[in-house]
């Protein structure tokens, strides 16, 4: 290489670098000498204040675009630790004005000591009168700030609360994990339901204002601002009208209802009673309210539709019938004789009545236990379990809600593993009619029936169908892939469907005929150790091209046909625009026992043999 050229180029390089150094030197001179005094003043007096502008949380709307969750502006009172001149006087004063618990407020302020330049929110949604009192005393309260922040509003109150969820202040543990994603101390974060699962879509991005302030903390000059970006809009599969009808139909009873589109798994209504008002949480809940909710024996926080594990009762016969038909053990016309009891090696299992001579189809329609006990033995517990799992029972459905229960589908291996006891023939009989150890959530039952309705697809239920930007651009369409496929022959399916249709035309649920709408379904009356049986009804309609599956469960009331079927009937009527039938009078449920949340012991206590209408 040409040494001369190389050396000349190195000289140029050195000159360029030297020029860059000169630029730095000039800049340092500018910042430190020319503007030095100004910056020194800013640094000494902490006159730079950064306030966060809370982003309005995204809206939640129903299937038809009607708002379900909104925001409203409200006042938030905070303190800025670095600007507190006399905290020992100011803090008690503010705490008293706001009506806060002094210990709680002190703990909050202490937690913010690490970041003295960040305001610590003392109370959100402060009433106007208190804000006025604070503003009047502004001069005596340096470091106290009043800001306007959006507050979450649930205009429908407790309606659909288990699905929508609620907010709470971010916990320290969550904060550690989420700080990198822009979460800050004191932020409200979804704690349950859609608010939690879709928090990142809903939260938006906080804006910021940097201002130079005077000694009283009044802004003199805004140095920089970023507007807050509102969160995205979340559209639910929920139909507000249907949800309202379903809530009313369940009334004051303890129980749950799931309405789902069997074609895509979108949840159209989801009810769990008793419920609670999410507005209690909108500004972070008070300790007293929280304690009350948690200690309520009726467990209002529990979402019975997805977290409650219940014995399925005769609704499980869908599985037993599928197994018996598919394995060729019975056909639609197989004949049975029901004397009203079943003799298992000297042990007598009683049916609720003597059905006499009947075929398998009628066995489904009348929910004859003897028929199902008879077919259960050749099917055997293992294959019963296999078919149940094929329908998605005993596993989470994958719905976009939290803490879903798995349920239990027992078989001999499970019993040895969990209870350390061998499987008896009696267990097979109990399992075949949905008693014994079996536990399922109403949502799982809805998914099972949806598979019958749609021809075998085990859909993945989902609450949210779409996420849009505030400007309306579709960001996300939610259509989760199916969870599986029930592989059965078309004949099996058609017998099954005929049996479920017969349940409503002249079987156990003949009482809920809806003029103009062909419904198929199955009743269930689940014995349980907590009192009266749980009432179940799981139905779909219309029979020819099913559009809706509705499952109702009422805790500890009695027969499924009597208590659950009318609720489902009413929801179907509303869904298909038919006149609503009057509801039977409901009396408040007796002491609610709560569902079995999957503990094997609870199911094990159920007596063998279950009467069933």
């Amino acid at each position: 290489m040409d040494r001369g050229l190389f050396e000349r180029r190195l000289t140029v390089l050195l000159a360029v670098i030297a020029a860059a150094f000169v630029v730095l030197a000039i800049r340092l001179w500018q910042v430190q000498i020319v503007q030095g005094e100004y910056f020194l003043r800013l640094s000494e007096e902490n006159r730079l204040r950064v306030t966060s502008v809370a982003a309005p949380r995204g809206l939640i709307e129903d299937r038809r675009g009607r708002p379900v969750v909104l925001n409203r502006p409200a006042f938030t009172v905070s303190v800025l630790p670095m600007e507190m001149r006399h905290p020992e006087q100011v803090i008690p004063e503010v705490v008293r004005t706001l009506g806060l618990d002094p210990a709680e407020a002190a703990a909050r302020i202490a937690a913010g000591r690490d970041r003295p330049f960040q305001p610590v929110r003392l109370r959100r949604d402060v009433p106007k009168e208190i804000v006025a009192a604070i503003e009047e005393n502004r001069m005596d309260l340096p470091g106290v700030m009043v800001e306007v922040e959006p507050v979450r509003e649930y205009p429908l109150g407790p309606l659909g609360v288990h699905l929508l969820g609620y907010l709470g202040e971010i916990s320290d543990r969550d904060l550690d994990a989420l700080r990198a994603q822009g979460y800050e101390a004191g932020d409200l974060i979804g704690k349950d339901g859609v608010e939690r699962i879709y928090d990142r879509q809903l939260r938006g991005r906080n804006g910021q204002i940097q201002a130079e302030v005077d000694a009283q903390g009044r802004p003199l000059r805004v140095l920089a601002t970023t507007p807050a970006e509102p969160g995205n809009t979340v559209r639910l599969g929920l139909d507000l009208d249907l949800q309202r009808v379903a809530e009313e139909a369940l009334g004051t009873r303890v129980g749950a209802l799931v309405a789902m589109d069997p074609r895509d798994g979108s949840i159209v209504a989801l009810v769990s009673h008793p419920a609670f008002d999410p507005n209690l949480f909108a500004t972070s809940i008070t300790a007293a309210n929280w304690t009350q909710l948690v200690q309520d024996p009726a467990q209002p926080l529990l979402d019975r539709a997805i977290q409650g594990g219940y014995p399925m009762g005769s609704v499980f016969k869908v599985v037993t019938a599928t197994a018996a038909l598919e394995l060729g053990i019975v056909g639609a016309d197989s004949r049975f004789y029901c004397p009203g009891y079943y003799n298992l090696g000297g042990r007598i299992f009683h049916d609720h009545e003597a059905h006499g001579n009947l075929n398998f189809l009628e066995g489904i329609a009348q929910s004859c236990n003897v028929v199902f006990w008879t077919v259960a033995r050749p099917v055997g517990p293992e294959r019963l379990g296999e078919f149940a799992r094929m329908y998605g029972l005993g596993q989470k459905t994958g719905i976009d809600l939290v803490q879903e229960s798995t349920g239990i589908i027992p078989d001999p291996a499970w019993k040895i593993r969990t209870i350390r006891e061998p499987w008896y023939a009696g267990d097979t009989l109990n399992t075949a009619v949905g008693q014994g150890f079996t536990l399922a959530t109403p949502l799982q039952v809805a998914r099972m029936l949806a598979a019958v309705a749609n021809g075998g697809t085990v859909v993945t239920p989902h609450v949210v169908t779409e996420v849009r930007s505030p400007k309306g651009r579709v960001l996300l369409r939610i259509a989760p892939p199916a969870g599986g496929q029930v592989r059965i022959r078309p004949q099996t399916l058609s017998v099954l469907r005929a049996g479920l249709a017969a349940v409503v035309t002249h079987g156990t649920a003949a009482s809920i005929q809806i003029p103009g709408l062909a419904v198929a379904g199955k009743t269930g009356t689940a014995e349980n150790p907590h009192g009266k049986p749980h009432a179940w009804f799981a139905g779909y309609a219309p029979i020819d091209s099913p559009q809706l599956v509705v499952v109702a469960l009422v805790e500890n009331v009695g027969f499924g046909a009597e208590f659950a079927a009318p609720i489902v009937q009413r929801v179907f009527e509303a869904a298909f625009g038919l006149p609503l039938q009057p509801l039977p009078p409901t009396s408040p449920a007796s002491a609610p026992a709560g569902p079995d949340r999957g503990g094997p012991g609870a199911g094990a206590q159920a007596p063998p043999g279950s009467p069933h209408p």
């Binding site: 290489m1 390089l13 860059a20 800049r27 910056f39 920089a224």
Partner: protein, 403 residues
């Protein structure tokens, strides 16, 4: 492949007496390096001694300094030309490490930059990659020494750095990717590429930058936007710039004195012991301290360029230029960032910022410079394997005019 270099290189190996080598060590380079590293330890202590564990950071930095220096000593014992012959392997290992970061790397602040070494902590391959790129590119440039008559002759070198840059970009680490760019430009310019070709590459880079914009993570776009318009000021970024300026500016002429930086101010400034350590220097040591720091760095850089001029071969000369380009770019971008004339890109201040991988990389870069310097030929004649002088004269248009 490198027939010109090898016959001359082999007989020399081990024949130069150790005493001569030591005499050839550039003591000014060593002392400026020591001064910078010393200042770094003091400033790391100053910015972290108020944290719950005052000595943790300094201890870690000292540990890395000791290990790094030992390895650097080892590097001095090996003839640097041995590095040239293992360039290919280094290049491959480098790519594997950078790819590994993407697969098994640990995330922090939205980017995956670290590989965990279990109890030994973690390291940042992209730091070491800077030095490896200098070595492999120097080898590549000395293997095909030109003349580079058109932009097409530069494409192989572009390909050389494209892959590592792409991997770094994916982490994403915009700043480090830019460092590679600076190394590339510096070495190609010194290596004889035509100015207009380099300028064309720069223009091409600008043209494809809209594409890169889409590759960038949200927070990086924000940082760039904030640099262009601080009033946009999204969370943190613009805030950091203003706070850093306040810290530096409030130091005024003499500074507030060592360890006297306002604690609050230091807490205002994000990353004050790593990327923003200069804001502490500006605050505590003032304009005078900052100027002295710049002078020391400039001395270091001028020694580095002197070594490039005396290097015995093209590989050594270009490697020295690469190292100097790297350090100068780091310094300018880092200090510029703290005073608001460069975007926040997460580039540490060489020798000074807290961070083991970066410190060791800089120590080894210095060792490589010393190595090249102490093995130069006493009698200066052209030992490079390049083509005869006249050919280049005919190629370099503008240079000829200056003659």
């Amino acid at each position: 492949m490198n027939t010109a270099l090898l016959p001359r290189a082999v007989p020399d190996r081990g024949l130069v007496p150790v005493k001569g080598l030591i005499r050839n060590l550039d003591f000014l380079l060593i002392s400026t390096t020591a001064a910078l590293v010393g200042l770094g330890l003091v400033m790391v202590y100053s910015t972290t001694h108020l944290s719950p564990h005052p000595l943790v950071y300094v201890r870690s930095q000292v540990l890395h300094l000791l290990v790094g220096s030992l390895v650097a000593l080892g590097l001095l014992l090996i003839d640097y030309r041995a590095l040239a012959s293992s360039a290919r392997g280094m290049y491959v290992i480098n790519l594997l490490l950078l790819a590994a970061v993407l697969v098994i790397g640990r995330s922090s602040l939205g980017a995956q930059r670290w590989i965990s070494l279990g109890p030994l902590g973690q390291f940042q391959p992209s730091e070491f990659a800077k030095l490896i790129i200098v070595i492999t590119l120097a080898k590549h440039l000395s293997g095909s020494p030109g003349p580079y008559r058109s932009i097409r002759d530069l494409l192989p070198f572009l390909g050389h750095i494209a892959l590592p840059i792409f991997l770094i970009f994916r982490q994403p680490d915009l700043g480090t990717a830019m460092v590679y760019g600076a190394i590339f430009v510096g070495m190609l310019y010194a290596g004889g590429a035509r100015r207009r070709d380099l300028a064309a590459l720069g223009v091409a880079g600008l043209v494809i930058s809209p594409v890169l914009w889409h590759v960038l993570k949200e927070y990086q776009r924000r940082r760039l936007l904030v640099f262009v318009d601080p009033a946009l000021d999204p969370l943190g970024s613009g805030y950091g710039i203003i706070q850093s300026k306040i810290a530096v500016g409030s130091g005024m002429l003499w500074g507030k004195g060592l360890f006297n930086g306002t604690q609050n101010i230091l807490r205002f400034v994000p990353e004050h012991h790593t990327d923003f350590i200069f804001s502490a220097i500006g605050e505590e040591l003032g304009f005078v301290g900052g100027m002295i720091l710049l002078v020391v760095f400039f001395l270091w850089i001028s020694r580095g360029l002197r070594i490039a001029t005396v290097a015995r071969d093209r590989f050594g000369a270009l490697a020295a230029v690469g190292i100097v380009s790297m350090v100068a770019f780091h310094l300018f971008v880092n200090v510029g960032m703290t005073v608001g004339i460069m975007p926040i890109t997460g580039i540490p201040l060489p020798f000074i910022s807290f961070g083991g991988s970066a410190l060791m990389t800089m120590l080894w870069a210095t060792a490589l410079l010393l190595n090249i310097g102490m093995r130069h030929q006493q009698l200066s004649f052209d030992t490079s394997p390049g083509p005869p002088v006249r050919v280049i004269r005919r190629v370099g248009g503008p240079e000829r005019l200056e003659e």
